[in-house]
C-alpha cells in the first residue's frame, strides 16, 4: 500500500461524516517514498498547520466542492485573467488552472523562510550594484571575472550607473521548493521582470469570495495590499526632486502590448496601483524627460515599472529593431531623471551559470552564511562536472543556462532512454550552455482531483519589494502546482496550475 492510499483509507475511517474514501484519490504510488507531503504527516494525520482546514474539508459535500471548482473557473474567465500560449494559434487565450485547496504555511515556517529571503534579496541587490560599480567581488576573486563580464546578461551600458538608493532589483520573485519540514531550496532568483503576482492576488480574491467561512475561522495574513506596497516602493525609488505638483512622483507601467502573454498582469497592476499603463507608442523623450502623450500634451514620467526586456528598452542603446521601447530612454536614465524598475542588467544576478556561486555571494555581502539552501550545481563548462553529468544523466535535471519557462530542460529520472541519448548529444555538442542539478524530492500538497484529494508537486514564488525605504515580502506568494501526477514541471506554459497560499497568523 502506498503512503497516499494509507492516508486515504485512514482519513475516511477517522471521520464518520459524508466524505468517503472516494474523496481522496488512491494514487500517487509513483512518487518517491521520500516525498514530503505538506498536508499529511502520516496516514490520516494532518500536520498542525492543516488540522483546521482538513476538518472543514472532510465535512464538505464533495459535490459542493466540485461546484466551487467549476465556479472558480467561471470567475477567472469572466475577469479575463488569461495568458497567451506560445505556438498555439488556435486558442490564444487560456486560463491557468486554479486548484481550490490552499497551500498553508505555519507562522514559524514563514518567519524563518522570510529571514532567508530577505538576506538573499539584499545580497543579490548588493551584487548587482557592485558589478556595475566597484566590482569588489571580482577583485576578491569570489566570482570569476570572465563569467560576469563576458556574460550575455551583463550590460556594459550600465557600468558606473547608480540608481537612487543603489536599488537595482526593485521587484524579485524568488522561486523556492520545499523538500522537508522547514527545508527550502532556492531554485532561481527572478530579478528581471518576475511575473505571476496578479495570480497570487486573484487567487486570494477568488478564495475569499468562495469560502468566506474559512477566512473567518482560519487567520490568514493578507496579501491584497501588495499593489499599495508596490506603488509605495516604486515612489520611494524615484529620482530626487521628481515629485509633481501633487507631491507624488509619476509612475507608469510599460507593457509590450495586448499580445504579450502577461498583458493581463500588466494592466491589472497598473489598475490596482492607479497609474498609467503605457506602450512604446505612448512614450517619447521630451525636454530630457521620458514623457507620455496625454490628451492635453506630454507629461513626464519619474518611475517606469517596465515589463519589457532589457534588449528592447531603447533602440539607441540596445536592439536597434525594437518596437517596444523608447529611443533615448537610456540617456534620460543615465542623466538621473528616471528610475527604471528593475534596472537594466539585473539579469546578471539570476543567470544560471552564476547561480552556483550564490552561497559565496551572500556571505561576501552579508558576512553571514546563507540561510536558504542552494541546490548543488554542476557546470557543463567544467570538465569534471561535465564528466559527472554525462555519467549521471538519468539522475539529474539538466537546464540550458539561458533557457526559461521549463523549455529545453531534461528531467533525467522521468526521461526515456532515447530522450536521454538525444540530450547527451546536445550536451556534448555545447557543454558550456548547460548546468545540471540533482533531482530534488519536491514536496507535495494535495489538489482536488476528480476522485478527491491527490498529492501533486508544488513550488513557491514569494514577491519581494526593495526600495531605499526598506524591504517588503508578501506573506506567501504564488504556489504553482504540477497538475499531472508525478510531474515536477510547474510552469503554466506546460500544464501547471496555481493555488492560493496562506501564511497563518
Amino acid at each position: 500500500m502506498s503512503p497516499e492510499t494509507a492516508v486515504a483509507r485512514a482519513a475516511s475511517t477517522t471521520n464518520s461524516n459524508q466524505n468517503t474514501a472516494s474523496n481522496i484519490e488512491e494514487a500517487g504510488s509513483s512518487l518517491a517514498p521520500a516525498t514530503f507531503d505538506e498536508m499529511f504527516a502520516g496516514p490520516g494525520l494532518a500536520r498542525p498547520a492543516y488540522a483546521q482546514y482538513l476538518e472543514w474539508f472532510l465535512r464538505e459535500e464533495p459535490a459542493r466542492l466540485a461546484d466551487k471548482a467549476a465556479r472558480a473557473e467561471e470567475l477567472f474567465r469572466r475577469i479575463g485573467i488569461t495568458f497567451n500560449v506560445y505556438d498555439d494559434s488556435a486558442a490564444t487565450e487560456r486560463l491557468i488552472p486554479f486548484d481550490i485547496v490552499p497551500r498553508l504555511l505555519a507562522r514559524d515556517t514563514w518567519a524563518k523562510l522570510s529571514r532567508g529571503i530577505e538576506q538573499r534579496v539584499r545580497a543579490v541587490n548588493s551584487f548587482v550594484a557592485d558589478v556595475y560599480g566597484e566590482q569588489e567581488i571580482l577583485r576578491a576573486g569570489v566570482v570569476p571575472t570572465d563569467l560576469v563580464l563576458n556574460n550575455e546578461a551583463y550590460l556594459p551600458q550600465m557600468q558606473g550607473l547608480q540608481p537612487p538608493g543603489s536599488i537595482f532589483t526593485h521587484i524579485t520573485g524568488v522561486d523556492l521548493v520545499c523538500t522537508g519540514p522547514d527545508e527550502f531550496y532556492v531554485l532561481e532568483d527572478n530579478v528581471r521582470t518576475p511575473s505571476g503576482v496578479s495570480y497570487m492576488l486573484e487567487n486570494r480574491e477568488t478564495m475569499m469570495q468562495m469560502f468566506p467561512e474559512l477566512f473567518s475561522s482560519i487567520r490568514v495574513q493578507p496579501v491584497t495590499d501588495f499593489p499599495h506596497f508596490l506603488r509605495r516602493s516604486l515612489a520611494a525609488s524615484a529620482p530626487e526632486g521628481s515629485a509633481d505638483r501633487d507631491g507624488w512622483p509619476t509612475i507608469a507601467v510599460l507593457t509590450p502590448g495586448t499580445f504579450n502573454s502577461a498583458y493581463y498582469e500588466h494592466s491589472f497592476l497598473a489598475d490596482q496601483m492607479g497609474v498609467e499603463l503605457v506602450e512604446s507608442r505612448d512614450l517619447q523623450v521630451v525636454d530630457g524627460h521620458l514623457s507620455m502623450r496625454t490628451i492635453s500634451g506630454h507629461r513626464p514620467i519619474d518611475v517606469l515599472y517596465r515589463r519589457v526586456d532589457d534588449d528592447f528598452l531603447d533602440p539607441l542603446a540596445f536592439r536597434p529593431d525594437s518596437q517596444l521601447g523608447v529611443a533615448g530612454l537610456m540617456e534620460v536614465y543615465r542623466a538621473g531623471r528616471l528610475t527604471v524598475a528593475n534596472a537594466p542588467g539585473t539579469g546578471i544576478a539570476d543567470d544560471k551559470a552564476l547561480y552556483s556561486y550564490m552561497p559565496e555571494i551572500i556571505e561576501f555581502y552579508t558576512g553571514e552564511p546563507a540561510l536558504l539552501n542552494n541546490v548543488t550545481t554542476y557546470r557543463g563548462s567544467e570538465a569534471d562536472d561535465l564528466a559527472f553529468m554525462l555519467d549521471h544523466l538519468d539522475e539529474l535535471v539538466v537546464k540550458e543556462v539561458h533557457g526559461s519557462g521549463g523549455y529545453g530542460m531534461l528531467v533525467g529520472p522521468a526521461s526515456s532512454r532515447a530522450e536521454l541519448q538525444r540530450f547527451r548529444h546536445k550536451l556534448m555538442a555545447n557543454p558550456g550552455a548547460y548546468i545540471a542539478q540533482p533531482t530534488l524530492a519536491l514536496s507535495t500538497v494535495p489538489v482536488l482531483a476528480e476522485s478527491g484529494l491527490a498529492p501533486r508537486h508544488v513550488d513557491l514564488r514569494p514577491y519581494v519589494l526593495l526600495s531605499p525605504e526598506g524591504i517588503h515580502i508578501t506573506p506567501g506568494g504564488l504556489t504553482r502546482v504540477a497538475l499531472t501526477e508525478g510531474s515536477l514541471v510547474v510552469n503554466s506554459s506546460q500544464g501547471g496550475g496555481t493555488k492560493d497560499t496562506w501564511v497563518l497568523e
Binding site: R77, R78, I79, G80, T258, Y263, S267, F268, A270, D271, E276, L277, V278, E279, R281, D282, Q284, M292, R293, T294, I295, S296, G297
Partner: protein, 332 residues
C-alpha cells in the same frame, strides 16, 4: 489620460454601439422581409447591407443578395469587419487596451458580452433563433452601458465613452435615413439609385400617409430604433414623412435622434473643454452641428431637401470624429 486610452475608449464604445445598431438593423430587415415574397425579400436585405455600408463588400464576396447568406455575413463573417462577431472582438480588444481606465464592472460586462455573443455565433443562426440572438446582442450591449452608467466616475474616460457612443449613433441614424429615404417616395424601388430628384421635399408627399407596404417598413424601422411607441404618442394618426423626420432628426428627447446625439456629443466635448481650459476645433464643429438642428423647423428642412441634409450630416459626423482624434492626440 493617455491619448491612446482616449482612442481605445472612444472606439470601444463606437464598436459596441455599432454592433448593437447592426442587431437593430437586422431586426428591422427581418421583420420587413417576413412580409415579403421570396424575391422582394432579398431587396430588403440589399437595403440592410447598404445601410451597414457593407453592400459592395458583400457583393464581392458572395454575388447576388440572398437572405440567409446576408444575415450570416452581417452577423458571423469574421472576414467582414462590420459583422457583429468582428465588432464585438474589436470592442473587447479596445477594452483590453484601456482596461485600467474602466471599472471592473464595465470590463467584466464587456468581456462577458464578448464571451456570450461568441458562443451564440459559434454556428450559423437559423431563422427560428434569430430573434433571440438579436435580443441577446442588444441586452449584452445594454449591460455594458448600464455598468458604465452605474459605476464610472464622470471623468474624461466617461466623456470619451459617450463621444464614441453618440458619434456612432448619429452616424447610424443618418445612414438609415439616407438609405430608406426612397421608401418615402411612392415610386422608385432601387437601392442604388440615390441620385434621384429629392422627392421627399415634394409638398404633397410630406403630410400624406404611406401606403401599406411603406407603413410596414417605417413601423419596423421605428421599432428597431425603439421609437415606435414614442412616435404614436407624439404623432397620433398615420405615420407620415414629416413625422419620421421630426422623430429621427429633430426630436430632442428621442435618444436615437440626430438632435439628441449631437447635443450629447456637444455636452461631452464641453466637459472636456472645462477640464482642459482650452476650446478645441472639435467643440466648435459639434456646436455648429447641434445648433443647425436646434433652430430647425420642419418646413426649412424640407425646403433644403431631407436627403441632402442627411448626406451632409454623414460627412460632418466623419469630419467631427477625425477632429476629435486630432484634438485629443489619439495618435502620435
Amino acid at each position: 489620460m493617455l491619448g491612446t486610452t482616449a482612442q481605445g475608449v472612444f472606439w470601444m464604445f463606437r464598436y459596441l454601439e455599432r454592433s448593437e445598431n447592426m442587431a437593430r438593423l437586422i431586426e428591422a430587415g427581418h421583420r420587413i422581409a417576413m412580409t415579403r415574397t421570396s424575391t422582394t425579400r432579398n431587396d430588403e436585405w440589399a437595403s440592410v447591407l447598404a445601410t451597414a455600408g457593407s453592400f459592395k463588400a458583400y457583393s464581392r464576396a458572395h454575388g447576388p443578395v440572398e437572405d440567409t447568406l446576408a444575415v450570416d455575413y452581417l452577423l458571423r463573417d469574421i472576414n467582414n469587419r462590420s459583422s457583429v462577431l468582428s465588432m464585438m472582438g474589436s470592442a473587447r480588444h479596445n477594452a483590453r487596451i484601456v482596461r485600467t481606465a474602466l471599472t471592473r464592472e464595465v470590463w467584466e460586462a464587456t468581456n462577458e458580452a464578448w464571451l456570450a455573443i461568441n458562443a451564440a455565433l459559434a454556428s450559423p443562426v437559423t431563422d427560428r433563433d434569430l430573434p433571440d440572438l438579436l435580443e441577446l446582442i442588444r441586452t449584452q450591449s445594454a449591460l455594458v452601458q448600464g455598468m458604465l452608467h452605474g459605476t464610472m466616475v464622470r471623468n474624461e474616460v466617461y466623456d470619451f465613452a459617450r463621444l464614441g457612443t453618440f458619434i456612432e449613433r448619429a452616424d447610424n441614424t443618418a445612414r438609415i435615413l439616407d438609405v430608406k429615404y426612397w421608401v418615402l417616395v411612392p415610386s422608385g424601388n432601387d437601392v442604388e439609385s440615390r441620385d434621384d430628384a429629392e422627392v421627399l421635399g415634394a409638398a404633397p408627399a410630406r403630410a400624406r400617409g404611406f401606403d401599406d407596404d411603406q407603413a410596414i417598413q417605417w413601423e419596423s424601422i421605428l421599432r428597431s430604433v425603439s421609437a415606435l411607441g414614442p412616435y404614436r404618442r407624439v404623432h397620433p394618426g398615420p405615420i407620415t414623412p414629416a413625422g419620421i423626420v421630426e422623430m429621427l432628426i429633430l426630436n430632442r428627447r428621442m435618444p436615437r435622434s440626430l438632435a439628441f446625439s449631437f447635443a450629447k456629443v456637444t455636452d461631452n466635448l464641453s466637459y472636456l473643454v472645462e477640464s482642459h481650459g482650452q476650446s478645441q476645433p472639435s467643440h466648435k464643429l459639434a456646436t455648429e452641428l447641434s445648433e443647425s438642428l436646434e433652430g430647425r423647423n420642419l418646413e426649412s428642412l424640407f425646403d433644403e431637401g431631407v436627403h441632402d441634409f442627411v448626406a451632409g450630416v454623414i460627412t460632418s459626423t466623419a469630419e467631427l470624429a477625425g477632429q476629435i482624434e486630432t484634438d485629443f492626440r489619439f495618435q502620435r
